[in-house]
């Protein structure tokens, strides 16, 4: 059909033209949707945080590092532990939410847990994403008894403020004795353990970093108050 070789100029010209059209297309789409994509993301996150910390109406994202806490907007990515401070309508700090993840039965289980600095306890848990077996592993979302573990899960720090005084751990169904223990769901031990492991690992990292700065977070709520 096309016996003569095409000149390089023609190839470059065409590719350039196509690249230009496509570039315009992609950039337009990107710019056009950016705002709404970000809004969607924020809404989804807020929804999850507010669900975990009842009563909260607005939140701020922070990153905790050994050097202190900084608002997430300016912080370079993955430089520390990300968390969300949730405030009520009056700008009062209701609690702190953070994401935690661990491997469950069929993949990563990601949860959002709420920490109440006043009570030094974990006060809520929402499963953000999981691939666990329907009917078994996904009980961690709705199972009332399991959720009850996270109403007041002891998360006090040790005297040196370097780690939890009592590591959070998952125990066999029906054998919960201490306030820092989580009673596993019978038949869904693996997923229960994953949730516990995730929360413990995250709390062990985050809470010591936060300890000094709770007051600052309380103040931060005022800045954004209504």
């Amino acid at each position: 059909m096309n016996a003569l070789p095409t000149s390089s100029l023609a190839m470059v010209r065409t590719l350039g033209l196509v690249a230009a059209i496509c570039g315009a297309l992609v950039v337009t789409a990107y710019q056009g949707t950016l705002a709404s994509v970000e809004a969607n993301r924020r809404l989804a996150l807020e929804h999850a945080v507010f669900q975990t910390i009842p009563g909260a109406v607005h939140m701020r994202a922070f990153v905790a590092t050994p050097a202190g806490i900084v608002p997430a907007e300016g912080a370079p990515a993955a430089a520390g532990e990300r968390f969300y401070a949730a405030y009520d309508a009056g700008g009062r700090l209701l609690g702190i939410a953070a994401e935690a993840a661990a491997f469950g039965y069929a993949g990563e289980v990601r949860v959002l847990y709420a920490y109440d600095p006043a009570r030094e306890a974990i006060t809520g848990l929402t499963v953000v994403a999981h691939k666990e077996t329907p009917g078994i592993g996904d009980k961690v979302i709705h199972d009332a008894a399991f959720q009850a573990n996270f109403r007041a899960l002891d998360a006090r720090l040790n005297a040196a403020r370097t780690a939890l005084a009592n590591p959070i751990r998952v125990v066999r169904h029906g054998t919960k004795r201490a306030p820092w223990e989580i009673d596993a769901i019978a038949g869904a031990t693996v997923t229960s353990r994953a949730v516990g492991k995730a929360v413990n690992a995250s709390a062990q990292r985050l809470l010591p970093l936060l300890a000094q700065h709770i007051e600052a977070l309380r103040q931060a709520g005022g800045e954004n108050g209504p």
Binding site: A101, F103, E108, A194
Partner: protein
């Protein structure tokens, strides 16, 4: 990203999250080339090799694009780089290892349109794997692809001699076999969490 031991990452990618049988990636070559053992194994090897190359490229490219703040060009960049990488691999092989080229050559063009390759690049980016993790992931994906391909080829060669009813012949049979293999591989779910 929760920390995951490399061995577990590898085994999970090969077995429980097998690219073909659990993630539905690379189905076209899987259904197309699994008819005979003689072609299945070299195809698997070629794919694994290209996956590694693609994973390497994607890792570097992603770092570059992130640094430039051009993440929205990621897909276009990946697909272009992978296509060129395959070309390059083909040329290098032809020049330096003609024997290997003859063995893998006919499969290389097929691989370009294999979504498993792009899948490796996209998944390792989405899951924010480290460099080493990416390589292990790519190797595991390739090994899993090869494993599925070889198992399937064995079964299909044997079923060629069976009295399979007419309406089941062809793609329908291949899909049902793949389903049964997939069911089998569900036994590996949760590998490494038992202890």
């Amino acid at each position: 990203m929760a920390d995951i031991p490399l061995a577990q990452l590898f085994l999970t990618t090969v077995l429980a999250n097998n690219f073909v049988l659990a993630m539905f990636l690379g189905l076209c070559p899987f259904l197309g080339v699994s008819g005979r053992l003689a072609t299945a194994a070299p195809m698997g090897a070629a794919t694994t090799f290209v996956m590694l190359v693609a994973s390497l490229c994607a890792y570097g490219l992603n770092a570059l694009l992130t640094w430039l703040g051009l993440e929205f060009l990621r897909l276009i960049a990946y697909i272009a780089v992978i296509a060129s990488a395959v070309q390059l691999v083909e040329m290098v092989l032809k020049k330096y290892s003609p024997a290997l080229f003859r063995a893998l050559g006919i499969y290389l063009p097929l691989i370009t349109t294999n979504c498993a390759i792009l899948g490796v690049a996209l998944f390792q980016t989405a899951r924010e794997y480290s460099f080493i993790q990416s390589l292990v992931f790519a190797t595991g994906a390739g090994a899993g692809f090869t494993l599925a391909l070889v198992l399937m080829a064995g079964l299909r060669e044997r079923l060629r001699l069976a009295a399979v009813p007419d309406p089941v012949q062809g793609t329908a049979l291949a899909l049902i076999l793949a389903g049964l293999l997939s069911l089998t591989f569900m036994g590996f779910t949760g590998l490494g969490v038992g202890e």
